[in-house]
């Protein structure tokens, strides 16, 4: 059996991601240069979660500050689908970075918009878009084991 986590952890992180991506979306539309910070920031946060999840600031804040204030989780979830969802997010943050490199505002806006919708659905509705894609992508043979 692979490791199990408190499902509220990823939801907490998704809430922060949703806020960051919405701010970035607005700044980019307004043509404010600070949006580049958000594009790069999201890229770093997703990359961190994909490559070094244990030391991620979201995970540390959740463990140290949030979870002690919550009741015990009613159920645990497998770590693989949310981790896969982070990889999906990483790919879309990469799209934003490509937009920066190519000077394409549309790519940057699309990247923020997708990240926001996925993170918002996860945080508010407990619907993990990336997790749902896992089985479908695997079914069509687009993912290895």
């Amino acid at each position: 059996m692979s490791s199990q986590i408190d499902p509220r952890g990823p939801r907490f992180g998704a809430g922060i991601t949703a806020a960051l991506s919405l701010i970035g979306f607005y700044l980019q539309l307004e043509g404010i240069a600070a949006s580049a910070t958000f594009t790069l920031g999201l890229f770093v946060l997703f990359a961190w979660n994909v490559f070094l999840p244990a030391t991620h600031p979201y995970a540390l804040i959740f463990q140290k500050l949030v979870r002690p204030r919550l009741s015990a989780p009613t159920s645990l979830e497998d770590v693989r689908p949310p981790r896969f969802a982070q990889q999906v997010g990483f790919v879309f943050s990469l799209l934003g970075v490509a937009g920066l490199a190519l000077g394409s505002g549309e790519l940057i806006v699309a990247s923020f918009a997708f990240i926001f919708v996925a993170a918002f659905l996860n945080a508010v509705f407990d619907y993990c878009l990336g997790c749902q894609m896992y089985l479908v992508l695997k079914r069509f043979g687009l993912l290895g084991k």
């Binding site: 159920s75 497998d78 659905l121 749902q132």
Partner: protein
């Protein structure tokens, strides 16, 4: 100012998607003229032990994966139904490494639950965590007391 409308639009789209998801989650649908399930070709299990016993009146089949967080809870609830009602058999299929089966039944999320009648024909299907009262109603239609 236009950017602010786009931000609100993005929020509205994400909220709408979330509400649609919430309204349809766990909602099943009745099927007529659907296929007969051949248990000989399905790796059905009960508590991890291969079992191929059809219920006298109805059979519940739950498709799960090893990384599915909500599957164990649904398994417990459906096993309770089997225990409480006569003529019902509850079986589980692990599709983690059987994408051929997932593709055949067009499973895009786990758990997915099928209700079969006494001829092993699929009469009801629900993706996601089912509403147990709906399952009970379906069983009642099949003559389960």
């Amino acid at each position: 100012m236009d950017s602010l409308y786009l931000v609100l639009g993005l929020l509205a789209v994400a909220s709408f998607a979330g509400l649609v998801f919430r309204a349809t989650r766990g909602r099943g649908r009745e099927l007529s003229g659907a296929e007969l399930v051949d248990l000989e070709r399905l790796p059905t299990e009960k508590n991890g032990v291969p079992t191929k016993v059809l219920g006298r009146r109805a059979t519940l089949i739950q498709f799960s994966t090893k990384y599915c967080g909500q599957c164990p809870g649904v398994r417990r609830q459906l096993a309770q139904l089997e225990y409480r009602h006569g003529g019902v058999s509850f079986l589980e299929v692990d599709v983690t490494d059987r994408m051929d089966i997932a593709a055949h039944f067009k499973i895009s999320q786990t758990p997915t639950v099928l209700v079969l009648n006494s001829n092993s024909q699929i009469v009801y299907r629900v993706g996601g965590v089912p509403h147990m009262n709906e399952i009970t109603e379906e069983l009642a239609k099949l003559g389960v007391a």
